[in-house]
Symmetry: C2
Subunit: 399 residues, 2 copies
Amino acid sequence: MVPGPGIARTQLPPGFTCSGINSGVRRYRPDLGIIISTEPAVVAGVYTKNECKAVPIRYCQRLLPAQNIKAIVTNSGQANAATGALGEENNLKMAEAVAKKLNCQTSQVLTASTGVIGIQLEIDKIVGGVEELVERQGHTAEPFALAILTTDLVPKTVSTEVELSGGRVHITGICKGSGMIHPNMGTMLGYFLTDAELSIPEAVHLLTEATDNSFNMVSVDGETSTNDCAFLMANGVSGVRLANLSDEKKFLKALEDVAQVLAKSIARDGEGATKLIEVQILNAPTLPMARQAARGLVMSSLVKTAIHGCDPNWGRILARLGADQVSKDCLSKMELRIQDILVYQKETPLSVDLSGLRNQLKSDTVLIQVDFNSGDFNATAWGCDMSKKYVEINAEYTT
Amino acid sequence: MVPGPGIARTQLPPGFTCSGINSGVRRYRPDLGIIISTEPAVVAGVYTKNECKAVPIRYCQRLLPAQNIKAIVTNSGQANAATGALGEENNLKMAEAVAKKLNCQTSQVLTASTGVIGIQLEIDKIVGGVEELVERQGHTAEPFALAILTTDLVPKTVSTEVELSGGRVHITGICKGSGMIHPNMGTMLGYFLTDAELSIPEAVHLLTEATDNSFNMVSVDGETSTNDCAFLMANGVSGVRLANLSDEKKFLKALEDVAQVLAKSIARDGEGATKLIEVQILNAPTLPMARQAARGLVMSSLVKTAIHGCDPNWGRILARLGADQVSKDCLSKMELRIQDILVYQKETPLSVDLSGLRNQLKSDTVLIQVDFNSGDFNATAWGCDMSKKYVEINAEYTT
């Protein structure tokens, strides 16, 4: 696996191109991106569970899953959410402009948006940019990855290869996300591209599985966006299918690995973040409880601020687990480790070298392990610390 | 109604005294307080729903409701939560020391604690302070109100009188709370004292009703404490009972008013807060939905930071309502007003004077009104903006 960015460039799988430009909506940064498949591709999508869904989300939900998709166009800066009938029109214009340029049906073009909620798209600028956008297409992921960013500091791309029984296939993942991150389905925007040949049911299943253990386990601030979505786009250019169960497992593992690298990169790039927090819940009686406990800890403001201050105030971890209705039985059997140091066991605080632990917390990755000793289910969640910068960014986002 | 503090002092109802001292646990600030009733009092309690309950919470749950309570002793700085068997022993020692000094049974003395979770009480200092504590008792609320503070900036007291058919009775409310505020039952620590003569069922009913519409509708940071509790203590010294339904309504109204003044003072004094946020949900189809929507908005980091920055980014309000599973029907009929200015209606953003709205947001109280036009249920919640100071306070609390 080769994480981008940096000097290295992330190559797209064969049969995909992408591009990103400034259409004039944002002042300096690229704000319009596209992913194009040379062949009509099988695409599955997962979407935010927010009841207030953005226009492009509802548009993609109507079209997907499908097997004839040519492109996904994405704009940043304006979310096209809470925009009424005019928002619907503008979304369609964006897809139509791309379809015209690519010489395909409008229904073969997906859309996604990210940015400020409640303002209309500057659709003339966007439509006016489509020609240049399509003409600039190339074989690396970065131009697109840059065009979809909002408060992110770094583009997020990763690629890998999998050796299946019929030959080698490629997977590239691209995503954006930094604030309003508490996905409940897809997430922010995520795109998985592969040259493997997948059926629609396979694509749906693989995408759902991979996001449940990655994007759905990240939280920056407990806020679920109106625009979260993730797509798996398979163009079949390799001619290699998932011929057996072993192939399917290998492919899912690779897809999950890609998704987890992206999920962690979102957490690490969380608004104002200085550290990645990884929470492992071990031996819980049920999977939902393990997941809820893990997500609860990474979204706790008090845990996030304590870790920001390298403050070994682990009582806040206990308080949060109790607030999230972890059962008394689990709490009584739990062992709590921070950076591999056992601090609480059998309902009793242990005598710990606090200044040593404080030093351990200075690391740029902090590991919290909670072992409930009450079952067989594990879950991992990722988040980030909370700094004054988070407040600064979010007190000044639209203005 | 006379809100304290300041120059004015809050008088306790007849038959109550209180006191607060420094026992040596905290360096400079008072850290031990007591409320004493001259007559055995009827007491009801409500408690945190956190599964990880502090020792004094479990102790009071065993004793209450009761009709023979003489005192509530409270220490600050150490929460006596997650402290195992030694924590139980220490809690009992605290109650015993007070009972001995007051010449009553240990079971007539309630306890409460607030402070850092996971460290043992410095019980010798606390027990050593009890004699001075009891001897200093007086008739104003402030010494106690000061002794129970942690990160609060101001003591929180209020008193009122109610004219019932049998005569006049008094109610005094005292509370503390500034962070880890997202009560799910009582809240932080709250004490309501009255010289009315109440039965146990009356006390339980009145306290539950009053806290549901006040303390349970405040959120500073979405974190539910291990130590939240509120008590209603009625010593009957006035000889005035709730003789009829009208008396009961009047008394409940007065108690709710007291509780709401305290709830708002907690929100306004939230860690790092510069503004009070009041959210009114109007005409919702159910009461639980109205309450959840109201609480969801006051706990949203993105709404709180936007208001801190006087940023009229109301899309975040919509996003949060959708994330909290407000129904599509409600969202389609909703009207959103900020500082009485209509910004969104019929699924469409309105053209609004944004710089005027930005000026309105500079007020130290911000009102958000969401009218769902879908039913008869209303709810109000209180919270505060999120500033860099919140992060500072919580990155450095134990150290």
